[in-house]
């Protein structure tokens, strides 16, 4: 890229990205494990398994899109390229919620546990605390919010470790499996619908307000005097990102790096203006998780299918580092935090 040139992928690039995402979705329908032999199967599934694979495909696409949209909103609202859903402490809050529920269930002798509800409650609690502590003058302040998020995430992490020592090994193992993230092939009633309704609402609102998101890239005084109302816009971004992430964590557990990397990949190919960046982030995030879910069907280390969260982190980390190098070489600012 020529130094100083902002990438200008137009609608054509967005169509191409969408086609790639659809291709990965189709691939996910074709690739799977035989439920009896656990062998890799590359074919359209039997009628009995179409529902499982289509559910997994939709969950992967929705969760990837939701996490990417959350990350994009947070990076805009906090004016920080390192912002991601984990910054708000959502994942840690959800983890603590699950761990508290596990502990209480153990104490009460209850065997079944509403993982999703526990994660949702914990995530919402963490977001609420961060928003309450990160405000200044009635509206979220980028620096205070990030600091509050880091502290809340750390405290939730410490709480999780504490509670892990108080439950039996079996429960601890279940928790650790959940904490590495998974793409379920069946979802309790309403889970998938709530994910896609929330994603659709946030996507439409963000798309309609793309100019206000652009204005968040300006200084506060300029943003206020052009009429962008940066305070309320920031609050809306943080609340929407927190809600979306909470729903994804409730469904799949925490998936690392998607919310951080996907908006950067989209920005890299389509530019920083939010008119196209909003849908592009969703498409890239969906494609990333779909690709990771396809990969976990194929990759076999003899330990069964890998947790998808491990794959998104192992793939996302190098992608981010590569982009960091490429960005530094082509004039892409990496010191624009806060």
């Amino acid at each position: 890229m020529t130094p100083g040139r902002v990438p200008h992928g137009g609608p054509g690039v967005l169509v191409l990205l969408t086609a790639m995402m659809c291709g990965l979705g189709l691939l996910r329908m074709l690739v799977g494990r035989d439920p009896i032999t656990d062998e890799i199967a590359l074919s359209w599934p039997d009628a009995a398994y179409v529902g499982f694979r289509s559910t997994a495909m939709l969950v992967a696409a929705g969760v990837g899109g939701g996490l990417a949209l959350s990350g994009m909103l947070l990076q805009a609202a906090l004016r920080n390229p390192l912002a991601s859903p984990s910054v708000l402490g959502v994942s840690s809050g959800a983890g603590l919620g699950v761990m508290v529920a596990l502990y209480l269930a153990h104490q009460a002798g209850v065997s079944s546990l509403p993982w999703g509800v526990s994660a949702m409650l914990g995530a919402c609690f963490a977001v609420g605390v961060v928003l309450a502590l990160g405000g200044r003058g009635g509206w979220p302040d980028p620096v205070s919010t990030i600091l509050a998020g880091v502290i809340v995430a750390t405290m939730c992490g410490a709480g999780m470790v504490l509670l892990q020592g108080l439950v039996p090994d079996g429960l601890r193992g279940r928790f650790l499996a959940w904490a590495m993230g998974t793409i379920p092939e069946s979802v309790p009633g309403g889970g998938l619908a709530s994910l896609f309704v929330a994603l659709a609402v946030v996507l439409v609102v963000a798309q309609c307000g793309h100019g206000r998101l652009d204005a968040l890239l300006l200084d506060h005084a300029s943003a206020v005097t052009i009429g962008a109302a940066p305070g309320p816009t920031r609050l809306a971004c943080l609340a929407a990102a927190g809600t979306l992430t909470a729903i994804t964590v409730a469904l799949c557990g925490p998936l690392g790096f998607v919310g951080l990397v996907a908006p950067h990949v989209a920005r890299r190919v389509i530019g920083p203006a939010h008119r196209l960046l909003v849908p592009a982030s969703v498409v890239v995030g969906a494609g990333l998780v779909l690709g990771a879910d396809v990969a976990r069907q194929v990759v076999d280390f003899g330990t069964g299918r890998l947790p998808v969260g491990v794959l998104t982190t192992l793939a996302g980390g190098p992608i981010f580092l590569w982009m960091l190098r490429r960005g530094a070489a082509s004039g892409w600012r990496t010191d624009a935090a806060v």
Binding site: G4, G211, D214, L217, S222, T225, I226, R333
Partner: protein, 247 residues
Amino acid sequence: MLQCEGVRIQQGGFEIGPLDCAVHPGRITAVVGPNAAGKSTLLNAMAGLMRPSAGCVRLHGRDVHQLGDRARAESLAMLPQRPALDCALTIEQLVGLGRLRLARHGSRVGDAIASCGLSQVRRRGVDSLSVGQAQRAHVARVLAQAGPETVLVMDEPTAPMDHTWAARTWDLLAAHARGGGGVLVAVHDLAVAADRADDALLLGGGQLAAAGPVAEVLQPEALQAVFGASFEWAARADGSPWLVPSG
């Protein structure tokens, strides 16, 4: 018209005011004073970014804090002291934000970019420009936002610019004033203020030391009292007056 009526502003243990002053349509008003005199604080308060502890700022007769976002954007445009020079948007996208809440006029954005000499680089990222060019991009954003009666509030707009573009920026502000708009400019260069402004507000220690037509305000005695330095009016080769440090 943009008016301060008995305005007091408190910020971090520092208080300025009470201030009574006005920015009149068709005139450029310069705010001058030494460092930490309260120039930027006054501009921020007049732009409605800070709520006064007492008094009222009125924009075209209405309390600036009672105006909605769109109404304020129609009546006032601002270049702050530290605009986002590292903004990742292109110049075209940045300048277009000036019309975010206002009706899009086809040529307004392009004209503003052209007037600031940035047409050739309009697709470049603001963060890839020199500081002076990026400042011009923000000036263009303010001009794109401005209608004929808009009050421009500019905090040291030409500070990072070279001599040529500083002069052209003052020309652009003068053109806006000639069209009926008001202009409020914080500026350090007293000679430029004396040469380009119609009115002046002289601030010292958070107090308004003098206000009025520039030739009356920028008198050596008043400047000596506020700056603790000597100035004198000299004559240029063409006979026009010129304010210069003396001693």
